[in-house]
Symmetry: C2
Subunit: 365 residues, 2 copies
């Protein structure tokens, strides 16, 4: 369902739903500007607009952050550097769950409760698989009608295309911009497959896993290891004839979570039920999350983790940069496949192959 084509919508809050940008400066650039309706502002104008809470300027700045054009990267860097100074003590909440777990309806209902409590909410996403034609995970406006028209909510689809590393960078930088614009609660949504949860986990303070009732087939898509990184499991769709199954699932997961090693934060993860229809359980979940932040800020874990995440992303980006350069090197690209095949067939040792490729790469450098 997420992958259906969808109509472009005019909401000021949803812009740039996955338009691919030209990789280098070329004649398309003027079309690109028209298409995205970016007015060229100065860094100061961008920063002032963002700080005043202007979501149109915020959207345009995020588009710059997402752009691969060198001159956009430079202005984006300057905007980010300024905004970095104006972040606030936000709650960054990662939300994951397999397709069908009811993420969109949960976020719609839960997000409404968050803004009703006086928060400003930004909803971002990481979905490395999204492509122009498919639209992105948050693009389906019909699923979030209320939240989309909520003046205290800002919804931004996943950056399109590119590697997970690239998409993750863009989302993480967008968090900085949203916080500078006064959004104090950030949802970072992802589908519950692949490596994207690890990326989301590495930029969230709190990790929320959405699960359907029943411990059977629904789990198929969830990667092993996700449960153990969750701070809270919310069983969705706990309404109507589903209530008994959901309550049972809650008990099961609660027991399972107790068996996990304690988390570094000192937090004891639990399972709760919720319904986007009856709204039951949503307030309890919000209270639980607020309880977490109270604890984590109190014991210093919140700040410590933020610092470690910043460091993590610095090193992660360096590693990605080194790898990209290596794997795009003309001396490597031609040989890699052959080496990989010989290694997989057991004809060449993994380490011997790596040494040889590194030697080739470092020669005459």
């Amino acid at each position: 369902m997420h992958e259906n084509n969808h109509q472009k919508h005019d909401s000021a809050l949803i812009v740039n739903e996955g338009i691919e940008q030209p990789p280098i400066v070329n004649p398309y650039i003027s079309n690109f500007y028209k298409k995205n309706r970016i007015k060229q502002l100065t860094v100061k104008e961008y920063v002032d607009g963002i700080k005043s809470g202007n979501t149109t300027t915020l959207s345009q700045a995020i588009t710059l952050v997402e752009s691969n054009l060198p001159e956009h990267r430079e202005i984006a860097r300057e905007i980010l550097e300024e905004c970095q100074k104006h972040t606030l003590e936000s709650m960054r909440i990662g939300i994951t769950g397999v397709p069908g777990a009811g993420k969109s309806t949960f976020i719609e209902a839960f997000g409404g409760m968050v803004t009703a409590r006086g928060h400003k909410l930004a909803v971002l996403a990481i979905d490395p698989s999204s492509e122009r034609s498919k639209g992105s995970i948050l693009g389906d406006k019909t699923r979030m009608e209320t939240l989309c028209s909520d003046p205290n909510a800002f919804i931004r689809p996943s950056p399109s295309g590119g590697s997970l590393g690239g998409v993750a960078r863009k989302t993480r930088e967008s968090i900085v911009l949203c916080e500078a614009a006064g959004f104090d609660v950030i949802f970072i949504e992802t589908v519950g497959v692949g490596q994207s949860e690890t990326a989301v986990h590495s930029m969230s303070d709190f990790f929320l896993l959405l699960m359907l009732a029943g411990a059977g087939d629904e789990l198929q898509g969830i990667k092993r290891g996700i449960m153990e990184m969750s701070d809270l499991i919310a069983i969705t769709k706990a309404d109507g004839s589903n209530i008994d199954k959901a309550t049972m699932a809650k008990a099961l997961y609660s027991n399972a979570l107790h068996l996990f090693p304690p988390s570094e934060s000192g937090w004891v993860p639990t399972a709760m039920t919720s319904s986007a229809v009856t709204k039951e359980g949503l307030e309890e979940i919000l209270l639980k999350i607020e309880e977490y932040f109270l604890m984590a800020k109190g014991n210093g874990y919140y700040l410590q983790r933020r610092k470690e995440q910043s460091r993590y992303w610095m090193y992660e980006t360096i590693n990605e940069g080194l790898k990209n350069r290596f794997f795009e090197d003309s001396r490597i690209t031609g040989k890699l496949k052959d080496f990989e095949e010989r290694v997989m067939e057991g004809k060449l040792g993994s380490f011997a192959a790596a040494s040889e490729l590194l030697r080739l790469y470092n020669e005459n450098r």
Copy 2:
């Protein structure tokens, strides 16, 4: 307890318990040879010796694999390339558990059962923290008296010193040598902390987690995520007054494991109890492991995973090589700490810092 100093022992099966090797060719090299009693053989002599099952030659070859001397690396590479052709359908079993979980006593008892069933067993280890003075995790002979004198068992302590990546490489290459020598069951032991389990998991076919009864404090040391990568949880010390607690723990963990997403292999992990004292449960664990291999070989997962592991280690080694070169570069070393601090203090963006460091590194290359 593992960290006490221990006497050197003369057993032919345990050699080189963590002697640090000089990093470059220097006058100590002759002492090094004397110390380690390495006769210089030709590649063919090494390979023939290994293939004939000569454990002294095997030990010497492993010492070469563990050496950091360039000329040792070259001969080691040739030996490995030959041995690579003579590996067999072995069972590589990763074993982990926190200190105190009874790893050594379990391996002693369980290993004896494995050799009694006609297998040849090699016990290797990964312990990145081991240092010369502390001895290595498998060095405490008194804990494995029977297995040490078992002609069908070969015990080799963890390679000493160096990064996890380096230690892991050495252990993984040692597996190749052991298999060429006819050892068809390989235990790869590690302590249940840090990143070493991921390394062990990436070179094992089967991952066994040892746990003490009781789901409380014993879990403190186990990292989150380990339970979900386990194919079997063995509750140890299920004897005497501990039996009830162990049986209860088994039921608890069995339930918890059912809640995990199914593993790629199609295997359903379980929990079992065992006692190294009464030997109860050990045979059942071996049968369970054999059942796994029957299944995984039948559905092709065994071979597929081996191939993927080989590829994984090739790329992992490349990444490590690229990182080492970067972080040892004189243009980087002087600046890294300052950048890291500014990033952690929120004065500099993670991505801006990474870009700048990469730019410095790639300049004039």
